[in-house]
């Protein structure tokens, strides 16, 4: 796989996975906007990534080798519907971006295969 596609596809599929999970938690928050006692949930990843990127000697490869596992955390706050709706929109755009990048990578490979023929 890596010979042909490099790390791009595998990395992008993880990006999609992360955004898909984040989407699930946002949807769960929105559905429970009126439920008493429900606390908003969030997937923690970006903060940890920023932390790791700040470390000395961090490279794209070292970050790739020591993957960060996205975790679902329960926050202390009740659901803020405006925040959730904007996060929903933002997350959808980022997910679509991941899809677009994979599509373009595949397109490049396809064009390449056609050129060689």
């Amino acid at each position: 796989m890596e010979m042909l596609f490099g790390k791009t596809i595998s990395l992008l599929s993880q990006v999609l996975d992360y955004h898909a999970r984040r989407h699930e938690t946002i949807v769960s928050n929105i559905a429970n906007v009126d439920t008493p006692g429900y606390r908003a949930k969030d997937v923690v990843f970006e903060k940890e990534l920023a932390l790791r990127m700040g470390e000395r000697g961090a490279t794209a490869d070292s970050l790739y080798e020591n993957r960060i596992v996205a975790r679902v955390m329960e926050t202390k706050d009740p659901v803020n519907i405006d925040r959730e709706m904007s996060r929903l929109a933002e997350n959808t755009i980022k997910y679509n971006l991941g899809i677009e990048l994979i599509s373009r990578k595949l397109k490049t490979l396809r064009e390449l295969a056609r050129e060689v023929r």
């Binding site: 989407h23 699930e24 949807v27 906007v33 997910y95």
Partner: protein, 141 residues
């Protein structure tokens, strides 16, 4: 990603809000109903929501994280009765009072608007999920 689970959560959200709106409409329609088959005036109804973990084949750490909404029940507010002095009313008691439901139209309307907004939010989330699924299917075309 288990998209059907996500869609199910959204569906539980707007289903719950729709049932809330049904009950609010019932309350508004019965504001003046002083006789019911069970006897006594109509009693205001309140919908109770609770969240329950979504059962499915999620990864272990997502099992407890995702919650769908459950309509926990519809309760009657037994104190929502007011007495009006209407001696000419056929249902008046010996003192001339009639027992009517104590329903505040403004409270009900405000609740209805809130439920409507929450319904719309869940529908938007549902649409977003649908778009993501469609995009995924188009990948590589």
């Amino acid at each position: 990603m288990d998209f059907s689970g996500t869609l199910q959560i959204s569906a539980s959200g707007f289903e719950a809000q729709r049932r809330k709106i049904d009950v609010i409409v019932e309350n508004l329609a019965n504001m003046e109903t002083n006789k019911t088959p069970g006897g006594g005036p109509y009693l205001r109804k309140v919908v109770l929501f609770s969240s329950e973990p979504l059962r499915g084949d999620f990864d272990s750490f997502f099992e407890e994280a995702l919650h769908q909404v459950k309509v926990d029940g519809i309760r009657r507010d037994n104190n929502a009765v007011k007495e009006s002095y209407k001696p000419g009313h056929p249902d008046a008691d010996e003192r001339g009072f009639v027992r009517f439901p104590d329903i505040n139209a403004i409270t009900e309307m405000a609740d209805m608007i809130m439920a409507h907004r929450a319904y719309e939010a869940s529908v938007t989330a549902f649409d977003a999920t649908k778009n993501m699924v469609m995009k995924t299917l188009e990948m590589g075309k």
